[in-house]
């Protein structure tokens, strides 16, 4: 048998790692690859190849566990291993950084994974990925209360605010923040979370229906007067007080910048 060309060797080696991630079987490895590998004093060619197959699976599994700690904990070691095996078989990494390896896990949980899993897992995974995205999102100087005080009164209705880049909104059918905080089970409940970064740390918090509606308007580019319309069913003084309190909370959380 002539020696394998470099391209062919890499094709067969990659196949040994990636065809059945986490479940390397010597008999599935290409015979010409095994024939090309020198045995060591202690391991045959398949045993040596298995070291790489195992390392490939373990390294990516641990990267995914770091990105999805609660998803992993709720599935348990066996369940999470099964998820990673199936995910990696469908979505091998296409990016030079492990930072990206978990990007499609929520989508895979929603549409690609056939094993029985708790119904809230997809939403929990979406929250966990939002936290990954926020962690290294672009930096920005958030709007301060002092800067807002400098806005003249007549400019307020048309004032356009926007979220900082390190902010995501997660809409879920389950209160996944409770799962994240340690609960093992939750009852379904429509939930909107904002996920943001403050002082380099990542936070998330549920928004009530009014805050969620106001924040959605703000994110869509509505002027401040339109954002405040979510309080239209309150008397004018109460509406102004509520809007002021909400804005103060967003500013304290360093959530906003001036749009445009």
């Amino acid at each position: 048998m002539p020696p394998l060309a470099l391209r062919d060797l890499q094709a067969r080696f990659w196949e040994a790692l990636a065809r059945a991630p986490g479940a390397f079987a010597p008999e599935a490895a290409a015979p010409e690859l095994l024939a090309a590998i020198e045995p060591s004093a202690t391991l045959d060619p398949a045993g040596r190849l298995a070291i790489y197959a195992q390392a490939y699976f373990w390294r990516i599994r641990e990267a995914l566990r770091a990105d999805y700690p609660r998803t992993a904990a709720l599935l348990g070691d066996t369940g999470f291993d099964a998820l990673v095996r199936a995910y990696l078989a469908r979505h091998p990494s296409t990016h030079p950084s492990l930072r990206e390896v978990g990007r499609r896990l929520p989508e895979f949980l929603a549409t690609g994974w056939e094993a029985p899993a708790p119904p809230f897992l997809v939403d929990l995974a979406r929250l966990e990925w939002a936290r990954v995205e926020v962690f290294d999102a672009p930096d920005a100087s958030p709007l301060t209360a002092a800067a807002l005080r400098a806005v003249p009164a007549d400019a307020w209705p048309d004032l356009r605010l926007a979220p900082v880049p390190a902010c995501e909104v997660v809409r879920a059918a389950w209160p996944v923040h409770a799962l994240w905080a340690g609960a093992d089970e939750v009852a379904p409940a429509p939930t909107v979370l904002r996920v943001w970064r403050q002082g380099w740390a990542v936070y998330h918090a549920p928004m009530d229906a009014t805050e969620a509606a106001a924040f959605a308007r703000l994110c869509a580019g509505a002027p401040f007067a339109a954002v405040c319309e979510v309080f239209a069913d309150l008397p004018p003084e109460a509406a102004a007080a509520e809007a002021g309190a909400l804005l103060a909370r967003w500013i304290a959380d360093e959530l906003l910048v001036l749009a445009g």
Partner: protein, 281 residues
């Protein structure tokens, strides 16, 4: 041919577990090395920490995904990100590994072994040259730990590494732990490895720990540098002189002070060997 890489002394790999301690600044290494891919980010804490560290100490960029030995085309997006990071950080140098890790647009996130053949040699040399042209700087290439060797290799790893460095005109990052791990796994002489490398191209030395799995040693970077690796480091200092030396620790990471203690031990060994060489016979 002379390398103008700066004599940085003794450094440590900068990992997120030590960001706080490094920023506090009570104890510091002479220089730091970071994993390039972990800082190819849009923003956030890692980049902010790196900028602050870089303001006070030299930093080298150490990549794991260049995949110099892969038969896929070079990843131009990756090269652009690396070039941008190098422009931001102004690193002492940029290094990556003598291996492959990419196939069919997929990344293994591992340092996979090459056969040491004329075909692979020509392939790697051409890619190192292209990367150097793209980055506008010399690359430094590190030997990897390996668990597989190929029957059709026509030369030892050290001959291959030396030939790549000579033909591509690049530097060598000598990982003493990797030499030891591979020497045990493949049954070659680590001393022959050191003797087979050209002293004028050794730009950096890596030290780390490994774990013994009975049938093989695994390059785990999860414990202190073991005695046989220190012994080999001593030989490397004897042969290559004062070379910027870095301790890597990537798993079960100890307090920063313990990592610095490993680095101090390397400094002490280097000084002993330097003094011994200076004494008249």
């Amino acid at each position: 041919m002379a390398f103008d890489f700066p004599p940085l002394g003794h450094g440590v790999g900068l990992r997120p577990a030590h960001f706080g301690a490094v920023l506090e600044g009570r104890e510091r290494a002479e220089w730091y090395e970071v994993i390039s891919e972990n800082f190819m980010l849009r923003g956030g804490r890692p980049l902010a920490v790196l900028d602050r560290v870089r303001a006070e100490a030299p930093v080298a960029l150490h990549g794991v995904s260049l995949a110099l030995g892969s038969t896929e085309p070079l990843d131009e997006d990756y090269l652009a990100a690396l070039a941008a990071l190098a422009q931001r950080i102004e690193p002492a140098w940029v290094s990556d590994h003598l291996c492959w890790g990419r196939f069919g647009n997929h990344y293994a996130h591992d340092l996979l072994p090459l056969p040491y053949t004329e075909e692979a040699l020509a392939h790697v040399v051409e890619r190192v040259r292209r990367v150097q042209d793209r980055l506008g700087r010399r690359l430094v290439l590190e030997n990897v730990s390996s668990y597989v060797a190929f029957r059709h290799s026509t030369m030892p790893e050290w001959t291959f590494l030396a030939a790549v460095a000579a033909a591509a005109d690049c530097g060598i990052l000598l990982d003493v732990n990797n030499i030891y791990v591979s020497a045990v796994n493949h049954g070659f002489s680590p001393v022959a490895y050191l003797e087979g490398l050209p002293p004028d191209r050794i730009c950096e030395i890596h030290l780390a720990g490994h774990s013994d799995h009975g049938t093989h040693l695994l390059d785990t970077h999860d414990q202190s540098v073991p005695p046989p690796v220190w012994d080999l480091y001593r030989l490397a200092v004897r042969r290559f002189g004062r070379v910027p030396t870095l301790v890597e620790w990537d798993d079960r990471i100890p307090p920063f002070a313990d990592l610095l203690a490993e680095s101090a031990r390397a400094r002490a060994i280097e000084a002993e060997e330097h003094d011994a060489a200076a004494r008249p016979a």
